[in-house]
Every structure is written in structure tokens, then in C-alpha cells.
Amino acid sequence: MGNKQTIFTAQQLDAYQDCTYFTRKEILRLFYRYRDLAPQLVPLDYTNHPDVKLPYELIGSMPELKDNPFRQRIAEVFSEDGEGNMTLDDFLDMFSVLSEMAPRDLKAYYAFKIYDFNNDDFICKSDLEKTLNKLTRNELTEDEVRMVCEKVIDEADLDNDGRLSLEDFQHMIVRAPDFLR
């Protein structure tokens, strides 16, 4: 424990514990995970808030994300610069939301952002097409993609504006209990 304490101050750890769903131990473990991605970049002393960012290539190569079709989106959504380059804070934030302790509302909110590829705060047809292509390895014909997207919007769009707002999405999530279990 002795040398661990030098990574963060007690106040920092408290802040991390208050703002994420992790315990002190998990935070330290995650810190080491983060550091292992690039030991030469990440200092062992975080008490003076060093400004370190790991590039997306490193983050995306983690086993948790490596095979996820949405890894790039996830990294983009959680990184502060929107390009997938993550600080330790972003990193903890990402794992906190993706952990099982996070409530479904929060996950739904971020899932919406993940599916919203063009960042216009609506899941429109182009977003759905991208999602579909990511999920099916581009093996559906254009016609099929179009039909699926239309069906999705038809089913989930309550206010008839031709795209899914956060409310629409949440309506749908409420009715899909296995979502992000």
C-alpha cells in the first residue's frame, strides 16, 4: 500500500471514488492497466495532474475493446477531445460507465451517444446504417440495410420525425430489459 499512495493523493482517490463506480483498489488496478498500455508515457505519480493522453490506437488494442465493433465510437464518446485519445480521467470514466454497477439510464444515455455516429443527437438513418454495417460485417445488401433501417425507425420513432431522439431511444430501452446487462 505504501508506494501505491504516491500515485494519487487521498483527495484524488476520494474524488475518483465519488465520481466513478469503482473502489480504491479497482481504481489503482485500472491505473496500472492504463499505465501498462504505455509505460514510457504515463508517469507513476499523478499527484500533480500530469497532462497525459494515450492515443486511440493504444486504447483500442485493449482486450476489452479489441473485438468490439464499436470500439472506435466508444473511445470517441468518452474521450474529451472526441477523437479517442484518452486521459486517465476519460479512461476511468469509460470503464465506470461500462461496468456493471452503472445504472441502465446512464448506460442508455451513453449507448445513444455511441450509436449517434454523426453527433447530431439524433439517431438518423445514416447512423443506423453504420450501426448495422458494423454489426453485420457489411454482408447485407443495400436494399436490406435500407429496409431494416426503415423498420427500426418505424417501430421506435414515436413522434414521427423520421429519426430517433434520446426520448425515443429511452422508450425503446425501457421495453428491452436485457439491454446492456
Binding site: 479489441k66 468490439n68 474529451e80 449507448a111 423498420k151 427500426v152 414521427n160 420525425d161 430501452i173 436485457d178
Partner: protein, 1018 residues
């Protein structure tokens, strides 16, 4: 001074008007009271009232950059004549300015919560400044670094408790409306947004401060913000808290602060310790990563059952076995009895004399330091355990139903498939590939179903029906046949067994026949069932699974039912110590079930894996069948529940069994299986499994145990209840005994009037029935309400698109005037830009232009404004706002023409007066400007009509006053403003936020009226 120049406002797009109004009102308030708090209060007031109209927005990144503050600059330009009230501009610039002022805004609302929309702005404003100061110093100056962060806040999502989703929605919408805002126009809206965001942020902070520590941490964790923002909010909350505390008792506050910190750290370490203690956490992660959530649910279920058994073992062992062992350590084994090894399988012989079975317990009252009545202990332990199990099951079933079933809706199948079915926990590459393939296949299937849903001919239908009927008949008869054959097998076996003490090895081995056959049936018959399933054509996969599950449940129920009948009616009459006999039979069943589970996973999974990979690749690697495996677990647990009366330590066997089974299944899964192709809806399946566990199985076991203890005579020579007519008479005897002890009258009273009284049960049943009926009705009502509300969302979406279409059409129908306006505005924009004179007028015009641009963009895209539940009321308010905007516009519009040279209002006023003649032209336009309003379909409500009338009157005033005096204008303006203030305070209360059906009515009214006026206009 500003003269209300009247300018043609035909075809003014609605949204620009809204922003102008907003700014206008802010300025007016500012003008009147010169009170920041007032300004900001108004902001929140109005923006909340019109959430959807969401005037203000911009790209997120821009918020980080520094911009000049329009309010600070606008101040001298507009209100020079009121110099006495003017704030020194030097004190307000940049971020410092923004953050410095914000507290004034939010302190006004402190402790009133985010929902207090219809609050009186006047009173809020009056007390603003005084409070502003001390609180700013106490909280905000402590954290200079937090200021920077507040200005770089990315998402203004301010939440806590039940307002969470709403705010999230609002925040997203605000940003979304104008994603591509013109950079030159951004300044003002940006400022506005930032202010509003900060306001909301302060509200949030205050809400959080009001919560308890635990809740606050929870709320902070749940905020949909990045870590930096959370930290910022947290530091503000803590600072606020410490500042309020330090004002009171410094020492005490310090102490309590330290205490709470210690407690929190303690809590954290407890939390982390609990996590390390969690069983199989890493394995669970691995499984969910490789096989997804549906397979994981099996293992979670297994773990859950294991916990049941551990609990039951602990209480049985603690309350029944330990006292007996303390009293009498050595089992009363006859001397000629020895342990032969086969007992482990059969459970007879040596075990028969240990505490394993009912027969091993005594009926005495153990007299040590305290008296311990074994009879009572045995009875109450079993009873309490069963009742607790029942309660736990009922609650977990109810919760699971609520979460997974009641709200679930099968209608949105493909939306679900696409957006909700991805299992983010999966991390293995192979599983991801499989999943993608499966999803593709499923989507294709659902598409083909949709496109070519051919009408089935009668003959095909008949054929399907025949197959259903045949397979149901076959499976039912199979189940019944199994039951019958087991019954006859038991009878046959019972004839051979004797009640002797010493069995030969062969005799002992013969007892294994029945459990062997039972377990074999449990293994083989389900295979037949899945074979039938292949021939049937179910329209959906889920129905197929349900059919399979129902058949299996029926099989297991019939087998267990027959066995129970046999035990209660045959064994109980024949053997002298029949409870122990039943206990042995159950022991054998449990053990054999375990062996067959292992065999099942060997043959079912390992062999078919070998066949699938080596011999017949066509078959492929087997899938892990969650449904079948869970049913096996349920069956095993039912055996344990039935056995608890006859063999109190059976849960120990069950614990070992489940523990081994977990690792076995895990190895078998990772070595042999592939993830299931069709995941279905795992959560719903789980609910069904819990329900199954409760309803036929647990209730069956419970009723059997209850029947035995109430009706059957316990054996006379062994066990705790020897010599009694039934087990329950233990209680009667005890009560009888209690009558002699003074001070225990209440127990007797309860026994007489509650437990043994029919009236009590009758009343209880009646009350429960009534409650059930009421809840049923409430549920029905809610369902109707949900349907209505959903319909309302759809209707309001339609209303909104309708109104927007109307407005857009009108705009298009008058193309000339707008273009003229646009030109003028472009001019002003350039001039103001070049002279860096950020007067409010220019800002207003810029904003307006921006909104026009946006409106056009939306026209091109054909995408309407996003919907919200409060759409209609917001629209109405927006339209009202536009009405007033036109007033302001007149004032505002005059300025651009001459603001190029001077920033002093005085000079402007002089210019205005000189140009009074030219107003004739403008006046000419006004009638058209106003008569055009109704045709816009804008004045939707009565309020809007009133506003218009008033506006016209006001303009009349202006027209008279114009040539005469500037002060007159100012007075009129003030008067108008006061009226506006009243109007505004009234408006929100008229349109309360949660609309209910009144919003619907309003929306319909508005629509109708808009239609009427549209017609009138033409």
C-alpha cells in the same frame, strides 16, 4: 434614446423571433432594474417554460473559447442616461465576469429546486444582490480553478433524481438544434447558453447539497458527464457544504467533516472487501465475455440457488444439528454396523443412524445451561426456512417481472435487434464473429418473413395443427407413462425391501434402481422432446422454447408427483421409520441426479463436440442450451426442498453438488460449446425460470411438506416427533405447556385467535383479494394511460409538423420582403463587425439571422424541430414570444441604420428623432406586418391574441409619442414591459410542465385556431 421604428416584419421566421424576444426580455429587465439576478432569473424562467423551442445553442467546442460578453458591452450603449445605475464595465469581462455573475442568478433560486418554474421573478430579483455577495465569496472564490472548467463544460446535463432524463433530453436538444451555427453569429447565443448552463449547473449543485452524503455520491456517479465535469460539480458541492458549515460551528463542522470522511473511507473498504469476497466473479466475467449474457444467466441462477442452499444449511445445521451434537456427540450406531462405502451412493446403512436423516434426531428436551426443545426446534427451523424461501422467491419473482416482463413489448422487434441486442460484455473475437453472423441471419429472416408473409393454405395449416397436436399428445403421454412406470417400479421395489436393520450389499444396491431410472428418464425424454420440436413449425423462436419448457416441466412434475404420492401413501404406511426411508430415497435421487448431470454434459456436450468437429462437421459444435440446463437445476433444487423435512442436512449435499457442477459446466462450456445462436431475450427467460421455480416446484414442495406435517402420523419409533399424532401437534403441546407460565398469555392469545381461528384466515384472504383487485384495476388504468400518453406523443408530433409546415409555406409565399430584410441585415452585420461595436442590436440581428439561416436549413433538409412532450405549449409560447418580438424589432431595427458611428444612446436618440419622417414608410409596413401574423398561423392561443392586441395598443402609443419625446417612448416601453412581466408570470402557471391531457387539449385547440386564422388570413 431608442425609438420604436416600425419595420416590416412580414415573413419573419418564428424561431428568430423567439430568440429576439428572449434577448429583448432580458434587456428590458436589465433596463428596468439593472439587476443581474433579475436578468438571469428571467433566463431560466423562460428557457424552462419553452424547453423545446431551445433558442440557444452552438457547437460544443466554441463554448470553450473566450468571447466578449455582450451584456457588459451593451450596457453603456443602451443605458447611458441611467448612468447612475450602471455597473462599471471593467469589473465584468471574460470568464471572470460570467462566473462572478452567475451565482447571483442561482442564489435567487436557491433551495427552490429546478422545478419551480412559475416563481415570481420580481421577488427573486429584489433579494438577489444582497445575498449574491457573501455567497459568492464563500463558495466560488475558494476555487478559482473551477471557473475555467465551468466555462469549458461540454454537456449541460444537469440531473438528479427523477428529473434526470428530462434534463438530459433538454441538454441534448439544445445543442443539437444548431450544430452548424455560423461562427460570427455565435457570440450571443453562446453567452446565453453558457449562462443558462451555469444556472442549471448551480441548480444541480444545490440539489446535490441538499441530499445526504450517500445519496449525493450516488447522484454524482449517475450524472451523464465526463469525469472532469463530475469532479467539478463535486468540488462545488463540497465547497458549498463546507462554507455553510463553517458559518455555523467551525469546530463541530470540522469534527463532523472528519467523521464523515472516515465513515466514507470505511464504507469504501467494506465495499471493496465485499467485492473480493464475491464468489466466482472472475469466472463470471470470463463467461460473459466469451458466451454472452444469456449463458451467463445460467451461471447466475446456479449461484443464486447455491446461496439458497448455503443459507438453508446454515440454519438447519445451526438450530437442529449442533444442539444435538453438543448434547450427544456419538451417533447411536448399532455395534454390528460398519461403513461399507456404498452408503455414499445409497444413503442407507450407516448414514441411517446419523444426523443425516430425520430418524437421527431425538425428541427430548436437551437440558444444559438452557432447555432446548428439539421437537420445537426441528419444527420451527423447517417452517421458518420454507417461509423465508417463499418470501425471497416471491420478491425476486415480482421484481424480475416488473423489470423484465410488464414493460417489455414485443412490438419493436427489429429495433431491438439492431440497437439493443449487442452484448457489450462480449470480448472474445470468436464470439463477436459468431454474433455478427447470427444477427445478420436473424435480420435477414425477419426481413424475409416480412416481405413474403404468404397466406398459408388450409392444408398446410391443418398439417401444422396436426403436427402440434401429435407432438403434444406424444409428449404428454410420454410424461404420464414415465410417471406410471416409476410408480409401478417403486411398488415392485417396495415389495422386495424389508424393514430390517441390516441389508446385504445386493439389497442395498437394489435401492439404486429407482433413482437410476428416474434420472435416466430425466435425461432421455427431454431429448425426445427436442426431437419433436424439430418437426414442428413454430412461427417464433420464443414460442418454440416455451413449448419445450412446458413439456419438460410437465415431465418433471409428473415424476415428482408420483414419487411424492408413493412416499406419502405407501412408504408412510409400511415402514416403521418411514421419514428416514423417504430421506434416503431423496438422497439417492439427489446423488443420481448429480451423476446424470455430469453424464449429460459429457454426452450432450463433449461427445457431440467430438462428433461435430471430427466426424460430422455438418452438425457443428453444440450450443449451450440454457433452457434445458436451467430446468435441470430447478429439478435438483426441488428435490432439496422436498427433502428438507426428511433429511435436514441434504442442503450440504446440494451445496457440494452445485459447487462441483459450476466448475464442470464451466469447463464443459469453454471446451465444447459455442455461444447460442439465438439469444432471445435472456432477461425474460430468466423471469420465467424464477416463476417456474416458484410456482409448480416450490409451491409443490411446500404443500407436500405442509401436508406431511399436518396430516401424516410421524413414525413411532424414531425422529423428533415420535409419539405425536402429527408434527404440528408439537405446537399444541407447547402452547399447553405455556399456559402454566405467567407472562406468556399473549402467545396463547395469538395462537388461539390467529393461528387456530378460521375467522382470521377468512378475513386475511378477503383483504388480500380486495387488495389484489384494487391493484389489478390500477394496473389496467395505468395501461390505458400509457396507451393514451403514447398516442399523445404521436399526436403532438403531428401537430408540430403541421404547424411548421404552415409556417414554412407562408414564408415561401412571401419571398420578396424577406430578401430585402436580409440585405439590410447583412449590411448591419458588416458594419457592426468592422467597428467592433457589439451593441445589443447588432447581436439581436445576428442572432435573428442565424435563426433564419437555421430555419432555411431546416427547410432544405425537410427535418422538423425535434419533438418533446411539451411541444404544443412550447410552440404556443414561442409564438406568443414572437408577437412581442415584433414590437421589439421595431425598436431594434431602427438602430442598425445609425449605430455605425456611435455607441451612445443619446446620439442615437437624436438621430432617430431626425429620421422620424422616414418612419412613415415603416408605419406603412406595420399593418401588413401585423395582419400577416394570423396568417402565419402563429397566434395560436387566446394568450397570443391578447398579446397582439396589447402590442397594437402599445404601438399606437409609440406612434403618438414618437415625434414628441423620447421619455414618453421609454415610459411606454416600460409599461409594455411590465405588462409583459405579468403576462410571463401568468403564462407558465397556465401551461404547467407536466401536461397530462390538458396539453393535448391545448394543442388541439391551438391547431384548430391556427387553422381558422389561417383561413381568415386569406
Amino acid at each position: 434614446m431608442v425609438q420604436p421604428a416600425v419595420i416590416a416584419t412580414d415573413a419573419l421566421p418564428p424561431l428568430p423571433a423567439i430568440i429576439i424576444i428572449y434577448i429583448g426580455t432580458v434587456f428590458h429587465h436589465y433596463n428596468q432594474q439593472n439587476n443581474f439576478a433579475q436578468c438571469y432569473w428571467n433566463w431560466t424562467l423562460q428557457t424552462r417554460a419553452t424547453q423545446t423551442s431551445s433558442l440557444e445553442t452552438l457547437e460544443i467546442d466554441r463554448r470553450k473559447t473566450h468571447h466578449t460578453n455582450p451584456y457588459a458591452m451593451e450596457n453603456p450603449a443602451w443605458h447611458d442616461d441611467r448612468a447612475g445605475q450602471r455597473h462599471p464595465p471593467g469589473g465584468h469581462s471574460g470568464t471572470d465576469d460570467a462566473t462572478g455573475r452567475v451565482p447571483g442568478g442561482w442564489q435567487d433560486q436557491s433551495w427552490r429546486g429546478t422545478e419551480s418554474i412559475p416563481m415570481d421573478p420580481m421577488s427573486a430579483g429584489a433579494e438577489g444582490p444582497s445575498r449574491q455577495h457573501d455567497l459568492i465569496h464563500s463558495t466560488f472564490q475558494n476555487h478559482p480553478d473551477s471557473h475555467e472548467r465551468s466555462s469549458s463544460t461540454q454537456l449541460p446535463s444537469l440531473i438528479s433524481g427523477n428529473t434526470t432524463l428530462r434534463w438530459r433530453g433538454v441538454a441534448m436538444r439544445r445543442i443539437s438544434l444548431f450544430p452548424n451555427a455560423d461562427p460570427s453569429c455565435v457570440e450571443l447565443t453562446e453567452e446565453a447558453i453558457r449562462n443558462e448552463m451555469e444556472n442549471e449547473e448551480q441548480d444541480l449543485v444545490k440539489e446535490l447539497v441538499a441530499l445526504s452524503t450517500r445519496e449525493r455520491i450516488r447522484a454524482i456517479q449517475d450524472l451523464p458527464m465526463s469525469f472532469g465535469e463530475k469532479k467539478h460539480i463535486r468540488s462545488q458541492v463540497l465547497a458549498f457544504k463546507s462554507s455553510t458549515k463553517s458559518q455555523q460551528f467551525t469546530c463541530f463542522a470540522d469534527c463532523s467533516e472528519n467523521m464523515s470522511l472516515t465513515f466514507r473511507r470505511c464504507g469504501y473498504s467494506v465495499k471493496s472487501a465485499r467485492q473480493t469476497l464475491q464468489l466466482w466473479q472472475g469466472i463470471m466475467k470470463e463467461i460473459s465475455g466469451k458466451f454472452g449474457t444469456s449463458v451467463l444467466s445460467y451461471f447466475l441462477f446456479l449461484k443464486w440457488l447455491l446461496m439458497f442452499n448455503i443459507f438453508s444449511f446454515l440454519i438447519n445445521f445451526g438450530f437442529i444439528t449442533i444442539p444435538l451434537l453438543v448434547y450427544d456427540v456419538s451417533p447411536n450406531v448399532p455395534p454390528n454396523m460398519s461403513f461399507r462405502g456404498l452408503e455414499i451412493l445409497t444413503g442407507v446403512g450407516y448414514f441411517n443412524y446419523t444426523v443425516m436423516y430425520y430418524g437421527g434426531y431425538s425428541n427430548e428436551t436437551i437440558v444444559g445451561q438452557v432447555e432446548y426443545n428439539m421437537q420445537l426446534a426441528y419444527f420451527f427451523t423447517i417452517a421458518v426456512y420454507m417461509v423465508l424461501c417463499g418470501i425471497v422467491l416471491i420478491f425476486s419473482m415480482a421484481i424480475s417481472f416488473k423489470e423484465n416482463y410488464v414493460l417489455a413489448d414485443a412490438a419493436s422487434e427489429s429495433a431491438w435487434q439492431l440497437l439493443c441486442s449487442w452484448d457489450f460484455s462480449i470480448t472474445s473475437e470468436r464470439a463477436v464473429r459468431l454474433r455478427k453472423n447470427n444477427l445478420r441471419v436473424q435480420l435477414k429472416e425477419s426481413l424475409s418473413e416480412k416481405t413474403q408473409r404468404t397466406r398459408l393454405t388450409l392444408s398446410v395449416k391443418l398439417k401444422h395443427f396436426g403436427v402440434y397436436l401429435g407432438s403434444w399428445l406424444l409428449s404428454t403421454s410420454l410424461a404420464l407413462g414415465c410417471g406410471a412406470s416409476i410408480y409401478y417400479l417403486c411398488l415392485y421395489e417396495q415389495q422386495k425391501t424389508t424393514d430390517t436393520e441390516n441389508w446385504t450389499l445386493l439389497q442395498e444396491a437394489e435401492t439404486l434402481l429407482v433413482p437410476f431410472v428416474v434420472s435416466l428418464m430425466n435425461l432421455v425424454v427431454p431429448l425426445f422432446y427436442s426431437l419433436f420440436n424439430k418437426f414442428e413449425h413454430y412461427s417464433s423462436h420464443r414460442r418454440q422454447i416455451y413449448a419445450l419448457v412446458v413439456r419438460n416441466v410437465f415431465l418433471k412434475m409428473s415424476i415428482l408427483g408420483v414419487l411424492c404420492y408413493y412416499w406419502m401413501n405407501v412408504v408412510a404406511k409400511k415402514f416403521s421409520c418411514w421419514e428416514s426411508m423417504v430421506g434416503q430415497a431423496l438422497y439417492r435421487l439427489v446423488i443420481f441426479d448429480f451423476f446424470f448431470l455430469m453424464l449429460g454434459s459429457f454426452f450432450g456436450e463433449f461427445l457431440s463436440n467430438v462428433i461435430g468437429t471430427r466426424l460430422l462437421p455438418r452438425i457443428g459444435v453444440p450450443e449451450f442450451d440454457v433452457a434445458r440446463n436451467v430446468l435441470e437445476l430447478i429439478y435438483a433444487q426441488t428435490l432439496a426442498w422436498i427433502g428438507i423435512y426428511f433429511s435436514p442436512l441434504l442442503p450440504a449435499i446440494q451445496i457440494i453438488k452445485f459447487f462441483i457442477l459450476f466448475y464442470l459446466k464451466k469447463v464443459s462450456l469453454t471446451q465444447n460449446c459455442q455461444p447460442p445462436r439465438r439469444t432471445g431475450r435472456a432477461a425474460q427467460m430468466q423471469t420465467i425460470f424464477i416463476a417456474l421455480l416458484f410456482f409448480p416446484f416450490f409451491v409443490g414442495a411446500l404443500s407436500m411438506v405442509a401436508y406431511i406435517s399436518w396430516s401424516l402420523t410421524p413414525s413411532e419409533r424414531c425422529g423428533p416427533f415420535r409419539g405425536l399424532s402429527n408434527s404440528f401437534s408439537v405446537v399444541i403441546v407447547w402452547i399447553h405447556h405455556l399456559e402454566g407460565i405467567p407472562g406468556s398469555q399473549w402467545v396463547i392469545w395469538i395462537y388461539r385467535h390467529v393461528i387456530r381461528s378460521e375467522i382470521f384466515y377468512f378475513i386475511i384472504t378477503l383483504i388480500i383479494l380486495i387488495i389484489i383487485y384494487i391493484f389489478w384495476q390500477v394496473t389496467r388504468g395505468r395501461k390505458e394511460l400509457i396507451a393514451l400518453l403514447r398516442q399523445q406523443i404521436v399526436n403532438e408530433g403531428k401537430d408540430k409538423t403541421f404547424l411548421l409546415d404552415k409556417l414554412q409555406n407562408l414564408q415561401k409565399s412571401k419571398p420578396k420582403k424577406p430578401s430585402k430584410q436580409m440585405n439590410q441585415k447583412k449590411h448591419t452585420k458588416h458594419s457592426s463587425g468592422s467597428q467592433s461595436n457589439s451593441s445589443a442590436v447588432a447581436q439581436v440581428l445576428l442572432a435573428r439571422q442565424q435563426f433564419e439561416g437555421d430555419e432555411e436549413r431546416r427547410d432544405v433538409g425537410g427535418v422538423p424541430v425535434p419533438a418533446d412532450i411539451s411541444t404544443s405549449s412550447a410552440l404556443i409560447q414561442a409564438l406568443m414570444a414572437r408577437q412581442r418580438a415584433e414590437d421589439l424589432d421595431e425598436n431594434v431595427y431602427q438602430k442598425p441604420d445609425n449605430n455605425t458611428s456611435s455607441s451612445s444612446t443619446f446620439a442615437q436618440a437624436m438621430h432617430d428623432r431626425e429620421r422620424a419622417k422616414s418612419h412613415g414608410r415603416d408605419d406603412h409596413y406595420t399593418p401588413s406586418g401585423f395582419s400577416e401574423n394570423p396568417t402565419n398561423g402563429s397566434s395560436a392561443l387566446l394568450q397570443a391574441m391578447q398579446a397582439r392586441q396589447r402590442a397594437e395598443q402599445d404601438r399606437g402609443d409609440y406612434a403618438h409619442d414618437l415625434p414628441s419625446s423620447v421619455s414618453g417612448v421609454m415610459q411606454a416601453k416600460q409599461r409594455a414591459e411590465e405588462e409583459d412581466g405579468i403576462q410571463w408570470t401568468a403564462a407558465p402557471s397556465l401551461n404547467p410542465a407536466p401536461p397530462g391531457s390538458s396539453a393535448l387539449i391545448q394543442a388541439m385547440l391551438a391547431r384548430q385556431q391556427a387553422q381558422n386564422e389561417f383561413d381568415d388570413g386569406y
